[in-house]
Symmetry: D2
Subunit: 449 residues, 4 copies
């Protein structure tokens, strides 16, 4: 997950970067950071917390210059998250450099071990440090060539933005697994961002997606970004961005995310048409289940109702429930609309089921609130395999669909019926022009070189 | 606005009060507080901030005892908001007392001036201080009698909970303008709260609404609360709770708030049936416009679509936009779904229009995003009069419908058409069994004695 | 304890008040507050914390006006200290009023009970609230007359500054127990402060002490403060200010505090002249024992040495020592100079002994560090009685000299010898022109009406 | 500057390290950090702030294990100080490693450039990173050999503690410029710390100084630390530690720091004996000028008086003085004892004069307070050269004694006379058994290989 942004050629570069990161806060809330570049010096500010907390006016004034890169971090396993925040800054042979990264390197450990064997030190657990080392060890004269060669040793699903004293290099892996789009800012310059929803607040117009395997180079010399095709493209955009991760108003690979989710809901509805379930209303698990539920309702003609309310005031720290108050965590976030659902049969739609714990609690909550029946529909296929391409899924053992059949899951979560979207329906919903990355569903780990 | 809660007869009183306040955070985010009572001593903790920030485990451990009252504060005009947070604690002749209050006293200034003339001092601007003074000045032997007489001098829309060392007194004004409900907690004791949505997290069952003009007394002597009818009831529940203020999953006066909002949307749709507008989709202004939009869509058959996304990460402090970035405030909270609405005719539904500024910005935002037409529908009548009964409306001069006709407002906000809900449709939508408080719409300021 | 300040007639009133409070931080570190007055409105800012933390530039900009009063609070027994911070603000019949107070009212409970019986409410535990009530209940037309009559009912050791919309009233009790001085600010206007050390940072010149029983009135009408003698003076300045509480560079009642402490040390030395103790050096317990130790050394000819170092980095919260690390609290603050004292006989001077616990730990620490002998000298008489006039002493039972003879205390603290200053020597050291308040030493509780 | 500590073989290792760092807070207040080692994993916690703020109980519980190293940081020029806090952690070929460092590497830039040329990256500005790189690049099998070879390339004044998963390596440079002492902890294990004042709170007994050029190795295999002489010793302890930097109760190279400062004062007095100045009292600039002033007073027979009071409540942020309130910064920290010094001739003693600005302000402050004459004495020689061995002195141009003669400085600071300690008197005062590092005074930059 995570979000990255690059702004080039605008006097308010850091401010625009902070607005773009703010728009992409859903991709990471743990830490955030920006590096700007001005007169041959790179300025960095990064810290734990939300974009609106870290980037005070004072911080933005420190971040001088007309180019900036930024990052939102999703989560860190380790202890001291500041050290694992991005951008990562370093001095190396050609000067100062700062890098942001979204994705996951498959051969990270091998590359790291190889570098360590040759005497490198690693101060963080971040993939980004790998790339800096590979760039620094390279002997080419031009940064672009060093990046190019560094990437030949780097296998994975990644988007990088590398900022030097006066240039920015934007790279998307050959598979284009993680999204990355280019926009033109009305007040001047360019933006590159993980999602197009970042373009609105900075008043930018969508130009095009960065191509799989492409490197864009922004420099003072050229008005337009230079484009170099580093690798032959084998386009495999990540289906999970459409299922859950992207903001519904973003456009990825030309597809409106919201519409694709509606389509997923429609497919679920079509699949239920022949069945004999008889429900009173379609109820989404908010917020992410809403578009699919709207699609299901539109397709089936069954009324759509907000049977579950989401509380947006859940802070980062709150009282730990006592023993007697178990199951409180889900209920603090989601509240059933009792008088709406009491005595009714519900068709509940969530975007995905990972461990099954939350689904189980939702079903119980709805039944406690008086629901007569709860038919659970999942707007994605069964997740049977962990994702190594940048989506934060748990170990294989913890994935409920790795351990149980659909029927078993249905019994576990105590639903009256349970259906998933088929893989075909999923790809149809997004658009059948692409060979999507579906490794979480079918175990096809195609990233190999 | 504001929210109040009382918990009586449960060993986790303060903890349950904090959960109830958390569920009613939408009624006030500026400050929060709880007073508990234990062994003849009252403990109070109040501070600026959200419930989840103020009530740490440490704070809850300090709040000992099996009874507690709590409050969420909406906003303060003045400087040092801590002093204006509730509960208000005082020592007086009969011992220690703590009070929370939701509503507004009409004759506050007169009572205050009279008390001041007789030598009283006021340390805050809160109505609550009035009541404590009236109770303290009274010469009756029993607190219940003092409260009763104090309230004969108090005109307004109010709910009070008064906590002494061992009892709680719950009072709702004769008009029942502000809501107040009684529940039974499964783990023991009772809860009284502004909204029934507070009952879920504390595992309480709705018993009944507190009656207009009723005083409930909780004491150790009796297992059930004692009920005294203080005043003859003239029930006038506030229509605005249904329009905007209450959480959709609450039940007020037996009506599910969500359903009443759906009804308002349906009425808007029926009103449009004969007209010739031709729109592609119904789009709510999230989150409060959603139920009415669902109702409109269901009634009219026009598809409901999430054409506007709401960003829930807007913190309390963030960078002030520069001159060039005006109108950013609305756009940081609301984002148009460009690819959904471009080239389309929209029927946009918001819950109410107060000053008109936000509506104007929303219309502009949608048109900038490519909407062909924007037909604006308001799920409440024109607000022509300020509310003095506890809803935070601006001065008469600032209310756009006080100054402009519907056509003029339509032109001001640059919509292609504009319609409000009629007052009759509003009351029909809520249920025609009541004589609702409608002063914001018709200027009927009925609270007089 | 506590410190108060009033600034009148200076455009930087709040800023100067904050500097004065900063200079008097030693009189109270728990909370601080300032009220300014501007165009008929009183502005207040108060909070927990040090002056340098609470009074940011933003806070000082809020505190508009050319008059201000301020307060540093020493400590609160209760829970929510913000509510017990000063100034105390109130609206009453003649308008707005704000009060700061240093001292202790003897008949506080009686007055409070009487007010409560008549229907008053008390929202805090502060004496200041008493005075506001008495002023508010009074029926005179002018505030000065109300204050005058209110004070006839008020027995105690006090200094008050009362600020209205346009005036300041400064009152010192008839005994002049707590110090209060008047200064003229070079940049315009006047300052009244608990200690003259507050005059330096605001560039004020000492004019004179406020007289016992005097009321000073600052108003726009008169260039100089008006003086009214409210009560017949019975001057009894507090000896403890000289012993311990005042900053050494302050001048109280015409006496330099530092010099009086030196005199106390000299008296201790004279008293030892005939004895046969043979010590290598005079060692103060820093910081408060230093002047007396210098006096002792000068008188006796025995070298003065800094045998104990004080660590000024002790914050308000730090790790609680584990079981094995007892006695750590004193040792984190005070460190013995091992190589200086090892094998040596020390004459250690502290300003006073209250419970004896700290003295015992100091003796142990010095012996552990190798001191051959530790002769303990106390630059004040035995504290046998609690102080009710504003110094924070514990209950009678906890005062070691209430329970033990000098010999017993000596054995308890494990010193090789122990001597106190006699009461006569104490008053001689300060200056024999006054009838000092000595109640902690001789139990003469003279404040009676 | 800065302070380092290592604890080995004690179950409370991190807790003891925090207490030691607390005792050495005077050597650095900007940031602090600790790395512990437990079961093959290194845990690190570092942050801005004081030791008492950063090391909460929670932080100490995270720092598991029976060995720990820690650091206090003096100041950073750059922006984001967290990244420049120590310890510095890294993974390298032999596993995990964490390092703390006190001092300055002379050939830092050359080594860094050389490493960079070979492909290394540097993420911070810290010397410590150099050493990690040199260790990582080395090809020896044992860490001790890698450290040894790394140090052959490292020229400077340094103390390092390197912690691996199970061992600690302590190194002091061949000149022994920065102090480092070994102690035995009563509750088990060893401590190594920059100053012996750290031994008291952890209940450790001084064993001996770490020798110049020595490496101590702590491991589980051996009960006592192993000692390896890495380099031939050329002992040149830093004179400035005695002049200003060390805490007075520390013992460096067998000399009690406080006593050496007294000796410096005595030497100043002897030098004045023949002169005709006639002063009333010796006044130290607190706190660092006190011991020399005591020595001067004892030698000359002139009374020692605390003519200047130091305010210890100066926080890190406080109101910026307005234009009219210039010179406030010194006066907020230091207050003249007016009634003591008015009309008197003072001999003022400070430990050193760097830029001259503070001295000038002190003289002005004393004269404004009424001092008749101010004779300034400096308990160290003229500082004519910047220190490159770890003391934070400004550029040569900013050193007043680089630009002015003694007479000129005297006129600049407006003193009535000015004398410095001679270099001979300085070394005599410390003890004539050593060839001290005096580069700030005589420009002898002896560290060359």
């Amino acid at each position: 997950m995570c979000a990255i942004v690059g702004i080039y050629g605008n006097d308010n570069a850091a401010r625009l970067a902070s607005l773009a990161l703010f728009s992409m806060q859903h991709r990471g809330q743990e830490a955030t950071g920006i590096s700007s570049s001005c007169n041959g010096k790179i300025y960095t500010k990064k810290d734990r917390g939300l974009v609106s907390e870290v980037f005070t006016d004072e911080a933005l004034q420190y971040l001088k210059g007309n180019m900036a890169i930024g990052h939102n971090r999703y989560s860190t396993a380790g202890g001291d998250s500041i050290l694992d925040a991005q951008p990562v800054f370093a001095k190396y042979k050609l000067g100062e450099i700062s890098i942001v990264h979204n994705g996951n390197l498959i051969n990270k450990q091998e590359v790291r071990q190889d570098l360590i064997d040759k005497g490198a030190i690693f101060q963080t657990g971040m993939d980004t440090e790998n790339l800096i080392h590979l760039i620094a060890k390279n002997t080419k004269d031009r940064l672009r060539d060093r990046i190019k060669e560094a990437l030949t040793k780097t296998i994975g699903a990644y988007c990088f933005i590398v900022q030097s004293r006066s240039k920015q290099f934007v790279i998307r892996d050959r598979y284009g697994i993680r999204p990355l789009s280019l926009g033109k800012i009305k007040s001047g310059g360019y933006i590159v961002a993980s999602e197009t929803c970042a373009f609105d607040l900075v008043d930018a117009e969508f130009v095009r997606d960065v191509e799989p395997g492409e490197m864009l180079i922004f420099s003072e010399d050229k008005e337009e970004p230079e484009s170099i095709q580093l690798f032959e493209s084998q386009y495999r955009p990540c289906a999970f961005e459409f299922v859950y991760f992207a903001r519904p108003d973003s456009v990825i690979d030309g597809k409106n995310v919201y519409r694709t989710r509606e389509n997923m809901g429609r497919a679920l509805a079509r699949n239920d048409e022949k069945s004999e379930i008889n429900v009173d209303m379609v109820v989404p698990v908010p917020d992410s289940g809403v578009p699919a539920a709207l699609g299901y309702a539109a397709q089936s003609g069954i009324p759509f109702e907000y049977g579950i309310i989401r509380n947006h005031y859940v802070g980062r720290t709150f009282i730990e429930p006592t023993q007697e108050m178990r199951n409180l965590k889900v209920r603090m976030k989601l509240s059933p609309m009792k008088s709406l659902i009491a005595g009714k049969s519900l068709l509940v739609i969530d975007d995905s089921v990972v461990r099954g714990t939350t689904s189980k609690r939702i079903v119980k909550m709805l039944k406690d609130a008086g629901a007569k029946e709860v038919h659970f529909r999942v707007a994605s296929p069964e997740i049977k395999f962990p994702c190594y391409y940048g989506i934060d899924t748990p170990n294989k053992e913890e994935l409920i669909s790795n351990n149980m059949s659909v029927d078993e899951v249905c019994e576990y979560i105590q639903a009256d019926s349970l259906k998933y979207l088929s893989i075909d329906d999923l790809t149809n919903a997004i658009g059948n022009d692409r060979n999507y990355a579906l490794e979480s569903f079918n175990g096809d780990y195609f990233v190999k070189e």
